[in-house]
C-alpha cells in the first residue's frame, strides 16, 4: 500500500541540500540579472558611454577570467579525487581552488586601488574615455563607474564568500569528513563555485568587453 502511495520525485536522486543550492543559485542569478539589466537600462538611456577598452586593463582582467575558469577545473578535480578515494587529492585541489580565488580577489583589489589612487596613465586614459577632468576613477565619477563598481564588487563578494566556503570545507576535509561515498558537500560547494565562475563570464562580457 505504502509503495503505491510513495511520491514520485521529479528531482531523482539529488539530495535536499543540492536542491537548496540550486534554488539559491537561481535566486542569486536573479539578483545578478537585476544588476546587469539595470546597468543595461542605464546604458541604453545614457547620453554617452565610454569605451571600456580605453579605461580598463582588459588583458589583466582577461587573465583573471582565465584564472577563475582554471579554478573551476581544479574544483572538478577535487571532486574527482574524492570519488576515486584520494583524500590528499581532494585537499590539494581544494587548496588550489582557494588559492586561485584569493589571487583573483588580489588582482581585483589591485585594479580597484589603481583606479582609486590614480596615476598619470589613468588620467590619460580617463581623458581618452571622455572623463576630461578626472584624475581617478571612483564610484562617483559617473554612471559607468557606478555600474562598474556595483557589479564587479557584488561579484567579488561572491568570490570572497566562495573562498571562505572552500576554507570551511577544506578544514572539514582535513578532519576526514568526506569519503568516496559521501561527496555531497563537495558537489554542493562545486555548484556554488561554478556559478560564481559562470556569472563572471557575463559580468566580464558586459562590463569589460562590450
Amino acid at each position: 500500500m505504502s509503495e503505491a502511495l510513495a511520491i514520485k520525485d521529479p528531482f531523482g536522486k539529488a539530495t535536499t541540500g543540492k536542491l537548496g543550492m540550486w534554488l539559491f543559485i537561481i535566486m542569486d542569478g536573479l539578483s545578478f540579472g537585476g544588476l546587469l539589466i539595470g546597468g543595461a537600462a542605464l546604458r541604453a538611456a545614457a547620453p554617452s558611454w565610454p569605451n571600456p577598452g580605453e579605461l580598463l586593463n582588459i588583458p589583466l582582467t582577461g587573465f583573471n577570467t582565465f584564472l577563475l575558469i582554471c579554478t573551476s577545473f581544479t574544483m572538478v578535480m577535487a571532486l574527482n579525487s574524492l570519488e576515486k578515494g584520494s583524500q590528499s587529492g581532494l585537499k590539494k585541489y581544494l587548496a588550489l581552488t582557494m588559492a586561485g580565488g584569493i589571487l583573483f580577489l588580489g588582482i581585483q583589489v589591485y585594479e580597484y586601488s589603481h583606479f582609486i589612487l590614480g596615476s598619470p596613465e589613468l588620467t590619460h586614459n580617463l581623458a581618452a574615455a571622455g572623463f576630461a577632468e578626472a584624475t581617478n576613477f571612483l564610484p562617483s565619477t559617473g554612471i559607468y563607474a557606478a555600474v562598474f563598481y556595483a557589479t564587479t564588487c557584488f561579484h567579488g563578494l561572491h568570490v570572497l564568500s566562495g573562498v571562505i566556503y572552500i576554507g570551511c570545507i577544506l578544514y572539514a576535509s582535513n578532519q576526514g569528513r568526506y569519503s568516496a561515498d559521501d561527496t555531497d558537500h563537495i558537489e554542493i560547494l562545486g555548484l556554488f563555485w561554478h556559478f560564481v565562475d559562470l556569472i563572471w563570464i557575463f559580468v566580464f562580457t558586459v562590463i569589460y568587453l562590450i
Binding site: 500500500m1 505504502s2 502511495l5 510513495a6 511520491i7 520525485d9 528531482f11 535536499t16 541540500g17 536542491l19 537548496g20 534554488l23 539559491f24 537561481i26 535566486m27 542569486d28 536573479l30 539578483s31 545578478f32 540579472g33 537585476g34 544588476l35 539595470g38 537600462a41 542605464l42 538611456a45 545614457a46 547620453p47 554617452s48 571612483l138 564610484p139 562617483s140 565619477t141 559617473g142 554612471i143 559607468y144 563607474a145 557606478a146 555600474v147 563598481y149 556595483a150 557584488f154
Partner: protein
Amino acid sequence: MSEHHEQSFWAQYIFSQDHKTIGKQFLWLGLFFLLFGGFQALLIRWQLAYPEQPVPWWLFGKLLFSETAGIIDPDKYNALFTMHGTIMIFWAITPLLIGAFGNFVIPLQIGAPDMAFPKLNMISFWTMFLASIVLLASYLLPEGTAAGGWTSYPPLSTPVGGIAGEGQTLWTLALTLAGTSTMMGAINYIITVVRMRAPGMTYFKMPLTVWGLWLTSILNAIFVPVIAAGLILLLLDRTIGTQFFVAGGLATVEGGDPLLYQHVFWIFGHPEVYILILPAWGIVSDLLSVFSRKPAFGAKVTAICMSTIVVLSSIVWGHHMYTTGMSPLLGKSFMFLTLLISIPSAIFFLNWLGTMWRGNLHFDPPMLFAMAVLWVFGLGGLTGLYNATITADIYLHDTMFVVGHFHYTMAASVLFGGLAAIYFWFPKMFGKKMNPLLGKIHFWASFIPLNYVFFNMMVLGYAGHHRRIYNPSEYEFLKPIIGLNESITLFAIILGVAQFVFLFNFIYSMVKGEKAEANPWNATTLEWTLEGPIPHGNFATTPTVYNGPHEYSNPAVKDRDWIAQSEPMPT
C-alpha cells in the same frame, strides 16, 4: 531521532532549530510590530482629523513630541506614515503570515519532521531580528528615522535632494537584511514542500494553506533577489557617492534614472502584495471548509487559480506607474494584464461561496474572520479595478482612494486571514483554548470600525484628498469633509482599542486558558492528529496520507463528519 535529548534553555527557546519554536518567535516579533505600526496609524489619523492640535496623553503626545508641545510636526508626520507602511508590511504581516504560520504549519501539514534546513531556518529568524534592531535604531538618529514614504522613491530617498539624515540609510540596510531573511525562508519552504511530503501527500492532497504558503515562497524566491539588488544600488547611492537614481538638476554626473528605481521596486512590489495575500487565501480556503463541514468547492481549481495569479502578478507592475509618462501602449498592456487577474480571483472567490453554500456553518472566531476576509477582499478586489483602469487611475493616483483600497486588501484581508489563523492554530501552538466569546467581541469590534475607516478613506480619495498631505484643513476643497476625517479617526481608535481585547485573550488564554484537546475543530489535516505538546521531530512515525485535506461529511464515514488525511477511507 537524535533530537529527543535534553536541550539547554538557549538551544530550546532562543537559538532553536525547531520549526515550531521559530514559528512562535516570528509570531511574537510580528505581534510586537503590529502593535507598534497600529499605534503609528492612530497618530497619523490624529493629525488628519485634528491637524496641528496636541496629541492627547493617551497617545503619549507630550512624551513623543515633547519639543513641539505634543504637536506632530511635518517631518515627524512624514516619518510616521513611512514607518507605518514599512513596519506593517515587512515587519508585521510578513512575519505573522509567512514567518509564523509558514514555519509552524507547513511541516506539520505535510507530515514532515521539520523544515528541510533547520539551521538556515534559525538564521533566517535571527537575521530578521537583526533587521528589526537596525530599523528601530534609526529612531535614535539625531534627524530621526526614514521619511521618504514606504516606497522610498528617489529623490526623496537619495542623499542628493533627499530628506536629511541617515535614517533612510538604516531603512535601506534593514530592508536588505529583512529581504535576506525572507530569501532564506523561501528556500526552506520551497524545498520542504518539494522534498519532505509524507507518503501519499501528492500536490493536490496538500491543504490549500500549504499551497498558498508555497506559492508565496516561489514569488519571494523570484522577486526578493531583484529588490535586494535595487536596495543595494540605493545603499551605494547613499554611502559611496554613486548616482544610480539621481537625475536632472540634482545630479553631478549624467545618466542616473529615478524611474529605474520605481521599476525595480514595483517588479518586486506588485508580486509582494500577492506574496502577502496568498497565505491568507490558502488559509481562508481551508478554514471555510472546516467550519462549513463540507469539502472545499473546486479545491483543485482554487490551487490552479492561485498559481495563475502567481504568473500574472509578475507582469503587471507597470500599473503602479501610469502617471510616470510611460508609453500609452505599454500602459494599456499593463492595464489589460492587471484586469486579467480578476478572472482567476473571481473563480476562487466563487469557490469560497460554493464551499459555504448549504454547509453546516459553525460561527467560531476563526470562521468569522475567514468570512470577513471574503467581504473585505471582495471590496478590495473590486476597488482594484478602478486603480487598474488608466482613465480612473490618473484621477485616483496617490489619493486616499489608493490607501483605502490597499488597506482593504492588505490590512483587512491579510490581517484578518492572519487573525483567523491565530484563532485556529492557537490550540495546537500553545495547547490551550482561546476564549470564544472574547474572540467574537474582538471580531465585531474590529470588523465594523475597520470597514468604516477604510471605506471612507476611499470616499476621501474620491473627493481628492491626497494620500500624503500633512494638514488637510489648509485646502479649501477638503474643508467640507473634515468631519469625515474626524469620524474615521474615531472609528480607527475603536479599532485600536478592540485589539486589546485580542491581546488580553491571547495572553490570558496562554497562561490560564482551558486545556485544548488534540483536535478541537474536528479538522482533517495532519497537525490535528498529534496529541499534546508536539516534540522536536513532530511525528513519532511518518504518517501515510490517504485522503485529500477536505474530507468533511463524507457519507462513507460513519458516526462523525470528518476523516483525517492519514486514516484509510472505510470501504
